[in-house]
C-alpha cells in the first residue's frame, strides 16, 4: 500500500508561467534556495501542500547594471552578490558574506530573504540603508515597492497572495558603506543585531538599516538627521560618533530572546553604529579631502 503523502511540485520555465501557476494554486509556496523553507519543513513548522520551484526561471538568476543602480534578480544567490557586487554594493555584499555557511550562500537568495521577511534576515539592513526597491510580479502585472514599505511585521511583508518577488533594485554606492553583524560565534550565526550604513558625501546624506532589533528591519531617521561637519570633516569626533550610536540604539525596538537581551542589543547597536560612522567618515574624507 502506498501511503506516502505527496506535495504538488510546479516547475515553471518563465515568470509569466510562474505567476499564472501561483494564481491557479494559491496554496503553492515558492521555493528557490530552500534554505528557509526546507528548514521549516524539516522541523515540521511548515507542511506546504504544493511548491513552486523558481530555480528554472533563468530571468531571476542574474543581475544587471542599470546605470545608477543594480537590478538583482530575486534568484541570485548570496555567494554571487559577495563575489560580483562588492565594489558597487559594498554593504549588501558584506551582509551576503555573513549569511550561513558557504553551502547556504551558494543556495540562498536575496529574494528568499525578502519573502521570509524575518527581522533577523541579513539582507534587510543594507537594502534599507541604500533605499532599494522591490519588484513584484503577479498576473496583473509588475509593481515596485520601496523597501521602507515592504516590511509589515515579523515574517510579514507587502507581498500579497499570488505575488512573486522578481528583483531588487539597489542604488550603487555613492560613498563608503558599512555592514556590521553581531553574533555569538565568529561565523555561521543568526544576527543578535546588525547595522548597515551608507554615506553619500555629495548629497550629504546618511542611510541606516537595523536588523534583528525589532519586529521588522528598521531605519534610524533621527540618526540619519544628525548634524555632521560636512564642510569641515576634520571636526568629526568620537562624541559625534557616540551620539550617532545613541540615536541608532534609540530607534531599535529589541526584545529579550534566546540569542540575546534587549539591553545588549541596544548597547551593541550603539557601538556598531558609532564604529560604522567613524569608518565611513574616515574613508570618505581620506579618499577625497574636500
Amino acid at each position: 500500500m502506498s501511503v506516502a503523502t505527496r506535495a504538488d511540485f510546479h516547475r515553471p520555465a518563465a515568470v509569466g508561467e510562474a505567476v499564472r501557476l501561483l494564481a491557479e494554486h494559491p496554496e503553492a509556496v515558492p521555493v528557490a534556495g530552500g534554505t528557509d523553507l526546507m528548514v521549516a519543513v524539516n522541523y515540521r513548522h511548515a507542511r506546504p501542500e504544493a511548491m513552486l520551484d523558481l530555480t528554472g526561471l533563468a530571468e531571476l538568476r542574474d543581475w544587471t547594471d542599470e546605470g545608477d543602480a543594480v537590478r538583482i534578480g530575486s534568484g541570485v544567490p548570496y555567494a554571487r552578490i559577495t563575489a560580483e557586487l562588492a565594489t558597487v554594493l559594498p554593504a549588501l555584499a558584506a551582509a551576503a558574506r555573513t549569511v550561513g555557511s558557504p553551502q547556504i550562500r551558494n543556495r540562498g537568495t536575496l529574494g528568499g530573504n525578502l519573502a521570509t521577511a524575518s527581522p533577523a534576515g541579513d539582507g534587510h539592513p543594507p537594502l534599507l540603508a541604500t533605499g532599494a526597491t522591490v519588484e513584484i510580479a503577479s498576473t496583473s502585472g509588475t509593481r515596485t515597492v520601496p523597501i521602507g514599505e515592504f516590511y509589515l511585521g515579523p515574517k510579514r511583508s507587502a507581498l500579497g497572495p499570488g505575488e512573486l518577488i522578481t528583483a531588487v533594485t539597489v542604488p550603487k554606492a555613492a560613498g563608503p558603506q558599512q555592514f556590521l553583524k553581531v553574533g555569538t560565534r565568529n561565523a555561521m550565526v543568526i544576527a543578535v543585531c546588525s547595522f548597515a550604513l551608507a554615506l553619500d558625501p555629495d548629497a550629504r546624506r546618511l542611510g541606516t538599516g537595523i536588523g534583528s532589533a525589532g519586529p521588522v528591519p528598521l531605519t534610524a531617521p533621527d540618526a540619519e538627521a544628525l548634524d555632521l561637519p560636512w564642510s569641515s570633516p576634520g571636526r568629526f569626533d568620537d562624541a559625534l560618533a557616540a551620539e550617532f550610536g545613541r540615536r541608532v540604539a534609540a530607534a531599535a525596538r529589541p526584545i529579550d530572546d534566546v540569542r540575546g537581551t534587549a539591553d545588549y542589543r541596544r548597547h551593541a547597536l550603539a557601538v556598531c553604529a558609532a564604529r560604522a560612522l567613524r569608518r565611513v567618515w574616515t574613508t570618505a574624507h581620506d579618499r577625497s579631502p574636500r
Binding site: 501511503v3 503523502t5 560565534r185 555561521m188 548597547h267
Partner: protein, 777 residues
C-alpha cells in the same frame, strides 16, 4: 532474519553492521593493509614487527568510507519491508497523564502500531545505574520531551502525523526547576561529602570565596539517535544500534521487553559521534517494542530537535567555593558546596557526583577539605554522561579560584599552580596516593610532580604575537565585520584539568577480546581476526586494535570482526577507557595467541584465544568522609589560551590554544592529536557559546541554529606538547587522553577573557552581555 537491503556499515570486515563469521568469504575481502607493504610471512612467528603498529599512525580502516560518504551510519540503515517508528513526547516538564486516546492515530491508513506504557511487555523502567526511567510515561511525565507513546507507520512522515493524532489529556503541574531548592527539599540522587582535616578560615592569609555557575552543555553528536529492530521470526530480535556499550544496552533492554537476553542480538551500527550521549538508551526499547508488535523491521531516527530532547546533557552546576592560602599561595584549606542538576531521572548522576566530589580540588595538595556535592532531581532535562563527566564543572571553579589566589598575592598563575602541585606519594582529597609514575624518578631530590613537569614546559612556548595587519576573520566577530581592531584587547590564561580514567568507585570494569590467527588459504599469509564489542565512536579505536595486533603478533593483516553481543562485554567507550581496557584485552589475547604460536605452525590449524582484561580494583568513597582509593588512573592536561576580546561588544576570538598533556604513551599520534583538538574545542564551546537554555524546564534552543558549537573560525590553531610519563600499570604505559583537554580548555579561555577584560566572570558559557554589562554605550 531478513538481510539488510543496503549493507549497513562498510567496511564490511570492520564494522558494526551485520554479524559475519571469520570464514573464507571474510578473509577474501581486502584486509587492513599495513603501510609499507611487507612481504608475506609464513605460518610461523618471525619476531618482526611490521609497520602500522603501536606508536604509528596508520590510516584508519574506515577512513576512506567515511571520507567518500560510503560509510553507513545508523541513520543510513535500511531493510526490506521496514516500518518507521516515531516517538510522541511530552510538551510539559511536569504533568499527570489522565488519559491517552490512540484511536485516531491508529485509524490513519498506513499506521501499523501505536503503543503506550500499557503495551510495555516487561519492566516499565530502565536506567544505567538505577532503573528509574520509564520506557513510556506510565501516568506522569517529569521532563519536557519524555516519551509518552510510540508509533510505527509506513513512512516517517506518516508516523509523525499519527503521533500528532494521539490525544493525551495532561493535568499540568508546577515543575521544580531550581536544583538548589530540590536539594533543600531532599530531592537528590546522591549526596557525597569529602572531609579531610579541619578547614579553618582563620588559618589562611588569603581567603577567596566565590560562586560559580556552569550552563547545560550538550554533546551535540552530528549523527542523530537511530537504529533498526529486526524480528527474527521466532520471537527474538536483532537490534542494529549506535551505542557506546552494547552489553549495557542489552542488560537494560531485555527486561523491558520481557525477553531472555539470549533472544536479543545487538549489532553495532555506524556511530556518528557520542561524547556520552549514547550511554543512555534512546530508540532501543521503543523500536524493539514496535518490531515485536508488528513483526516487521522498524527503524527509528531522531531529527535534530528530537535529538536535543532525546539524550541526556552535561549537568549544569552551581558551586560555592572557598579557598584559603598562606602568604606564599600554598593552599591551607578548601571548602566547596557543589550542586549538580541531574534533571528528572538518575542516568549516571550518581557517578558524576562522585567525580565532582573527589576531583573537586584538582591536582593540588591541601590538608584540610570540606566538600559537599549533590546531584539534584528536578523537572529539567535529564543529565548524565558527557566527556569530562563531573570533572568539567568543578575544574572551571577550582581553576578560577587558583587564579584568584594568584591575583590576590601578585603571583604568576603558573607559579601558584606549581607551588601546590601534587607529587608522587601525595594524596588526593579522597586519600588516594599518586603512585602512577616511575617511582625512581625524582627532581632535585624531590618526588616527581607530574603537574609541575607539564607546567614547566610552557617556559619555551611563547604566547603568539599580535600580527601587524589582520583580516576581519582573524578578529573577534569574524565576517560580521564588527571590529577592525576597535576595542580589541588581548588576554592570556591557564587551566589545569585532572580527570579519572576508567570507571571508578569499585565498579567491576572489564573488557573482552577474542583473537584468532589463521592462514589465508590463497596467499599463505597469517591473518589475525579480532572480535570485540567495543564501540568505535570516532576516536580511532578500530585502528588501535589493528595496531596492537601487528605489534604483538608481528602480522600485517588484521581483520576486525563486527562489534556485537556475540563477543563478551567490552565496557563502554567512555571515561577515556577504551585504549586502556579493550586495548588491554586485545593485547592480552594477542599475547596468549603469540605464546600458543611458539613451536606451532598455522598450517596445522588456527590459534585462538579470548582474554578478559581488568584494571586494578578500586573502592567506593566513604559516604561520610569521601575517603577511599576510588580511581584507577589519573590524567593531567594543561592549556594556555590566548584570546582577543572586543571589550565594547563582548565578542571573543580565541587565537591560540597551547596544550601540554601527559598521555603516558602515544599509541597513535594522529588519532591522539585529534582527541586533544576535539576535547579542547568542546571545552572552548562551553567557555564561550554552548548552552542548552531552559525556561521553566522547557528547552528554548533545540536546534543548531541556536545551540551554537564552534566553527572553524572559532577554533584556533592548537600547539600541542605531548608528554609521555608512562604509567607502569597501564598497557604500554598509556594514560586515557580523550577527556582531560575538555576540562582544562574551558578555565584557560575564561582566565584569558578575564585577563583581557578585568571582569570576574564566574559563569560559563561567557556571553557577550556578560562582558558588556557595565559598559556605557
Amino acid at each position: 532474519m531478513p538481510e539488510p537491503a543496503k549493507t549497513p556499515t562498510p567496511p564490511p570486515w570492520a564494522a558494526g553492521g551485520v554479524g559475519r563469521a571469520p570464514d573464507g568469504e571474510a578473509a577474501e575481502r581486502v584486509p587492513v593493509a599495513a603501510p609499507g607493504g611487507q612481504p608475506p610471512t609464513r605460518g610461523v612467528p618471525t619476531g618482526r614487527v611490521p609497520g602500522g603498529g603501536v606508536g604509528d599512525s596508520p590510516i584508519r580502516p574506515e577512513a576512506e568510507s567515511k571520507v567518500n560518504g560510503a560509510f553507513d551510519y545508523a541513520s543510513d540503515l535500511a531493510f526490506e519491508g521496514m516500518l518507521w517508528g516515531h516517538t510522541l513526547r511530552s510538551p510539559h516538564p511536569r504533568a499527570l497523564i489522565r488519559s491517552i486516546d490512540t484511536a485516531a492515530a491508529l485509524a490513519l491508513p498506513g499506521v501499523a502500531a501505536v503503543l503506550t506504557a500499557a503495551d510495555v511487555p516487561g519492566k516499565l523502567h530502565y536506567g544505567l545505574i538505577e532503573a528509574d526511567q520509564p520506557v513510556l510515561a506510565p501516568g506522569e511525565v517529569n521532563y519536557q520531551g519524555e516519551p509518552v507513546a510510540v508509533v510505527a507507520a509506513e513512512t516517517l512522515d506518516l508516523a509523525r502525523r499519527a503521533a500528532e493524532l494521539v490525544d493525551v489529556a495532561y493535568e499540568v503541574l508546577e515543575p521544580r526547576c531550581d536544583a538548589g531548592e530540590a536539594v533543600e527539599a531532599g530531592e537528590y540522587f546522591r549526596y557525597q561529602p569529602v572531609r579531610l582535616g579541619e578547614p579553618v578560615t582563620a588559618d589562611a592569609a588569603v581567603v577567596i570565596a566565590r560562586e560559580y555557575e556552569v550552563g547545560m552543555q550538550d554533546q551535540a553528536p552530528l549523527g542523530p539517535e537511530s537504529g533498526v529492530a529486526v524480528p527474527t521470526g521466532d520471537g527474538g530480535l536483532v537490534l542494529h544500534v549506535a551505542t557506546q556499550w552494547l552489553h549495557s544496552d542489552l542488560e537494560q533492554i531485555a527486561p523491558c521487553l520481557g525477553l531472555a537476553p539470549e533472544r536479543i542480538h545487538l549489532a553495532m551500527a555506524g556511530i556518528g559521534g557520542a561524547f556520552g550521549a549514547r550511554e543512555d538508551l534512546s530508540v532501543q526499547v521503543h523500536m524493539a517494542m514496535l518490531a515485536l508488535r508488528t513483526g516487521r523491521p522498524v527503524k527509528m531516527m531522531y531529527d535534530r530537535a528530537e535529538s536535543f530532547l532525546g539524550h541526556v546533557h552535561r549537568h549544569p552546576a552551581r558551586m560555592r567555593y572557598e579557598h584559603g592560602a598562606d602568604q606564599d599561595g600554598r593552599l591551607v584549606y578548601v571548602k566547596a558546596h557543589i550542586v549538580l542538576d541531574g534533571g528528572a531521572y538518575a542516568s549516571t548522576t550518581e557517578a558524576v557526583v562522585g567525580n565532582a566530589a573527589s576531583l573537586a580540588v584538582g591536582p593540588y595538595k591541601v590538608g584540610h577539605v570540606s566538600i559537599d556535592a549533590w546531584g539534584a532531581r528536578t523537572n529539567n532535562p535529564p543529565c548524565g554522561a558527557m566527556r569530562g563527566f563531573g570533572g568539567v564543572q568543578t575544574c572551571f571553579a577550582y581553576e578560577s579560584q587558583m587564579d584568584a589566589i594568584a591575583d590576590a598575592l601578585g603571583l604568576d598563575p603558573l607559579e601558584v599552580r606549581r607551588r601546590n602541585a601534587l607529587a608522587q606519594g601525595d594524596k588526593l582529597v579522597n586519600g588516594q596516593v599518586v603512585d602512577a609514575y616511575d617511582p625512581t624518578r625524582a627532581v632535585d631530590g624531590q618526588p616527581f610532580s607530574p603537574l609541575r613537569d607539564l607546567l614547566d614546559r610552557f617556559a619555551d612556548i611563547p604566547v603568539p604575537p599580535i600580527p601587524a595587519g589582520r583580516d576581519i576573520v582573524e578578529l573577534p566577530g569574524g565576517t560580521g565585520n564588527t571590529t577592525h581592531g576597535e576595542g580589541v584587547r588581548r588576554g592570556v590564561g591557564y587551566g589545569v584539568g585532572l580527570k579519572n580514567i576508567c570507571y571508578s568507585e569499585g565498579f567491576d570494569d572489564y573488557s573482552t577480546a577474542r583473537v584468532r590467527l589463521e592462514l589465508d588459504g590463497a596467499t599463505g599469509e597469517p591473518v589475525a581476526y579480532i572480535h570485540t564489542a567495543a564501540a568505535e565512536v570516532g576516536q580511532g579505536h578500530w585502528n588501535l586494535q589493528t595496531q596492537i595486533a601487528r605489534t604483538e603478533l608481528g602480522v600485517e593483516r588484521v581483520v576486525l570482526l563486527p562489534n556485537d553481543t556475540k563477543a563478551g562485554s567490552a565496557g563502554s567507550s567512555s571515561a577515556s577507557r577504551q585504549s586502556y581496557m579493550t586495548g588491554g584485552a586485545v593485547k592480552a589475547a594477542c599475547e596468549a595467541v603469540r605464546d600458543l604460536w611458539q613451536g606451532r605452525d598455522l598450517d596445522d590449524g588456527p590459534i585462538e584465544a579470548t582474554r578478559v582484561f581488568r584494571h586494578r580494583a578500586t573502592k567506593p568513597m566513604d559516604p561520610v568522609t569521601g575517603q577511599g582509593d576510588s580511581h584507577v588512573q589519573l590524567a593531567l592536561c594543561v592549556h594556555r589560551a590566548t584570546v582577543d576580546v572586543d571589550v565594547e561588544l563582548g565578542l571573543v576570538k580565541v587565537v591560540d590554544l597551547t596544550c601540554v598533556q601527559d598521555v603516558g604513551k602515544a599509541l597513535n599520534p594522529v588519532a591522539l592529536e585529534g582527541q586533544i583538538h576535539g576535547g579542547s574545542a568542546q571545552g572552548l564551546g562551553l567557555a564561550v557559546m554552548e548552552e542548552i537554555v531552559t525556561d521553566g524546564g522547557r528547552v528554548r534552543n533545540a536546534s543548531f541554529t541556536d545551540y551554537l558549537i564552534p566553527t572553524i573560525l572559532d577554533t584556533p590553531p592548537m600547539r600541542l606538547r605531548i608528554v609521555e610519563n608512562a604509567d607502569p600499570e597501564a598497557p604500554y604505559g598509556l594514560r586515557g587522553a580523550g577527556e582531560p583537554p575538555t576540562l582544562s580548555s574551558t578555565p584557560a579561555i575564561v582566565a584569558a577573557i578575564r585577563d583581557a577584560t578585568g571582569l570576574p566572570l564566574t559563569r560559563v558559557p561567557v556571553r557577550p552581555e556578560h562582558l558588556t554589562v557595565r559598559r556605557p554605550s
